[in-house]
Amino acid sequence: MSPQTHAGIDYSKVDEILSAFEYKKSNLIAILQKVQEVFRFLPLDVMTYIGTKIEGLSPATVYGVATFYAQFSLEPKGKYEIKVCDGTACHVRGSMPVLNAVYQCLNLKDGVYTSEDGLFSVETVSCLGACGLAPVVVVNDKVYPQMTADAIKIVIATIMNEEEEGK
């Protein structure tokens, strides 16, 4: 996973986020979440920028936090963000075959989490709090309960078809 630089970043958006969170060191994770919401990932230059703007932080420290948490992506995320829950309940009910099916479907290799066309990105999350529906997959806030390898393939194929038709 190599971090990406991003030409033409609108830093006024970053400034807005920073001032909303009062330039506080303790708000770093919330700030990064918001930045990721805006840019769909954390560009290296934005992490550097945040590191120089907040007292007590440095670019290397911000990078450290961003790479510690799986929720942060250093490469652009896809239009559709697939979150495969791998909490205990989902795991025992077979989330791994679901995840592998997603990787296979999107032709992703180890360390690459966004499909080549930029349409999909995949991440595992630790628990979505919907253990009764295990195993759970969430695609852009839409919840898909009791997934199987075959079911998720259909979900992805449906989205792909819609995208095709949309064009």
Partner: protein, 594 residues
């Protein structure tokens, strides 16, 4: 609060007062526990788990605790060396070794490496029961700059370098990245140190227990110079080297070994040996002149000292708009080399500007970078050819088979052999300002300053990183601030920007306590008091010397009379002053303009 509190360590009753942690109490009591991550001048971290001890509480419970993070408690019984603690430490060592590039013999830290030392002490012979690090998984070594080498394959993630960078320089160029088994210590996104805002102070390297951060070793290059019969090799030795190098040969910290260093250098094969103390005096002549001029004109105040190359780089990259405050004087290293190149051929037969090579011996890793500055180059040639740190010179002396302690002391070479106490104290935080005031006073009033000890500027421990002194120069109040560490310097810069600053001169040394604690000095990170002893050694030499004001130095007077005319003259500017460069572009803060 005066209640006597005691605890038991290995059966011995030990008193304690305000020690920050149990480890300090253990060490004061004469015992020791191994540690990788504990450094008394940095915050406690508890990463390595080597300092674990068995603690028996009064209620009978026994727990294993890391002694560096545990505050001392009354009436506990501590055992530092039990079957359990040994087993834990051995496991820690085995796991670290399995995940380590164990090519020890060619490692620059070999013989000084704590991992190597403890592995040997604990008799670790085999780690094959763990999955060992494979050569093909090794990460590239960062060899991109003239001062430091970062080898991530030897990092044990103790975090000492990250804390040093953060707590000393306020800079955190190094940080942790990733998580779990993929964790690394590196500059942002694994960039090279030369591509980030590193100032090359070398404090990260000074606290590193292994070969993960080392000084770029230039010993072999210097040997090639010395063994070349067509080359004349000149040495210059910085003030603080003399009070530290003895530690490498079993002498006490603070012991002044300048005579032995001169002798060793001659023995090694250096042709002429000079003292950077002499050019420290020269720096004072120029800088005091500059200071007096600025005060009288009210221009570019406060004046910033410019001896510390890490500080100069910090200003150039972080605050280029404040470079006008920086003294235009070269550092003592930067001043002596051009003077030697210019004058040695006049005084010594067989020396020409072509065959002279200059090697400086410095306590500092950033000096290696300074020597490569474009501004310190003349006719396409660097004025200083190589910079060796104190550590490297010690290696050189050892490899030459010289018995350092039994050498007959030798004096430096004339015409620049004499130096004053003012030059010597450059090595301790506050020394440059004190030396400058001693001379500036006389420049302004025409009378010599009577009380030469300005105690308010002295002190190199944690509590003396920012010192304010107000002086009365015949009715004119002059305020001087002395800071060490760039974290403190940054606070002063912010005061200047806010308009709340109230001082005329700012002395900055990037290393805590000044050059005596420089990144190139012998290892001293386990004991806060070593730097105090080294500083005491310098202040002792100051009182022992015939002259204690730079302007009294007879060799300096002669140099001005015969060659430089007067401080601030055209000739002096040509040789002794320099220009600075706005290096904001490409620095972290430049990101907006990309």
């Amino acid at each position: 609060m005066s209640d006597k509190k005691t605890l038991i360590i290995n059966g011995k009753e030990v008193e304690f007062t305000d020690e920050p942690n149990l480890l300090e109490v253990i060490r004061k009591a004469g015992f020791n526990v191994p540690t990788f991550c504990y450094r008394p001048d940095l915050t406690q971290y508890g990463a390595c788990r080597m300092c674990v001890v068995e603690v028996e509480y009064p209620n009978g419970r026994t727990l294993i605790n890391s002694s560096c993070t545990m505050p001392p408690e009354a009436n506990i019984k501590v055992k530092t060396n039990t079957e359990r603690t040994r087993r834990i430490r051995k496991t820690v060592l085995e796991l670290l070794l399995a995940n380590h590039d164990r090519e020890c013999t060619t490692c620059d830290k070999s013989g000084k490496c704590e991992l190597q030392q403890y592995a040997e002490e604990y008799g670790i012979k085999d780690v094959s029961k763990y999955v060992e690090k494979r050569k093909e998984d090794f990460l590239p070594i960062d060899n991109s700059n003239p001062a430091l080498v970062r080898d991530p394959n030897k990092c044990i993630l103790c975090g000492a370098c990250v804390r040093a960078c953060t707590e000393f320089q306020g800079h955190s160029v190094l940080g942790f990245a990733n998580r779990g088994s993929k964790t690394l210590v590196q500059p942002i996104a694994g960039k090279a140190l030369s591509k980030v805002d590193c100032v090359f102070c070398g404090q990260c390297q000074a606290v590193c227990p292994t070969g993960a951060l080392t000084i770029k070793n230039e010993v072999n290059d210097v040997w090639s110079l010395i063994t070349d019969p067509n080359k004349k090799v000149l040495a210059q030795i910085a003030p603080s080297v003399r009070v530290a190098i003895g530690e490498e040969f079993g002498l006490e910290p603070g012991a002044n070994t300048i005579g032995l260093i001169n002798a060793a250098l001659k023995e090694i094969g250096f042709d002429l040996v000079f003292d950077t103390n002499f050019s420290a005096d020269l720096t004072i002549m120029e800088e005091a002149h500059e200071f007096v001029e600025r005060v009288s004109k009210g221009e570019n105040l406060p004046l910033f000292t410019s001896c510390c190359p890490a500080w100069v780089r910090y200003l150039e990259t972080q605050h280029p708009e404040m470079l006008n405050h920086l003294s235009s004087c070269k550092s003592p290293q930067g001043m002596l080399s051009p003077i030697l190149r210019e004058l040695v051929p006049q005084y010594f037969e067989g020396y020409t500007s072509e065959n002279i090579n200059i090697v400086s011996i410095m306590p500092c890793t950033a000096k290696k970078v300074e020597a490569k500055r474009a501004q310190l180059r003349k006719d396409g040639k660097f004025e200083t050819d190589y910079v060796l740190t104190t550590q490297e010179l010690a290696k050189m002396i050892k490899s030459a088979g010289i018995d350092f302690k039994s050498l007959e002391p030798v004096e430096g070479d004339s015409p620049f052999a004499q130096y004053t106490g003012a030059g010597t104290i450059f090595g301790a935080s506050g020394g440059v300002a004190e030396a400058a005031v001693r001379t500036a006073y006389e420049f302004v009033t025409g009378e010599p300053l009577s009380d030469l000890d300005i105690n308010g500027m002295r002190g190199v421990d944690k509590n003396h990183r920012c010192k304010d002194v107000e002086l009365d120069i015949k009715g004119t109040k002059v305020k001087v601030r002395v800071v060490s560490t760039l974290k403190e310097a940054e606070k002063s810069l912010q005061e200047i920007k806010n308009g709340t600053a109230d001082f005329h001169m700012l002395e900055v040394m990037a290393c805590p306590g000044g050059c005596i604690n420089g990144g190139g000095q012998p290892r001293s990170c386990d004991d806060s008091h070593i730097k105090e002893k080294r500083a005491a050694g310098l202040y002792k030499e100051d009182t022992e010397l015939t002259y204690r004001r730079s302007n009294d130095n007879p060799d300096i007077k002669k140099l001005y009379k015969e060659f430089l005319e007067s401080p601030g003259s055209h000739k002096a500017h040509e040789l002794l002053h320099t220009a600075y460069q706005d290096k904001f572009k490409g620095s972290y803060k430049d990101v907006v303009k990309n």
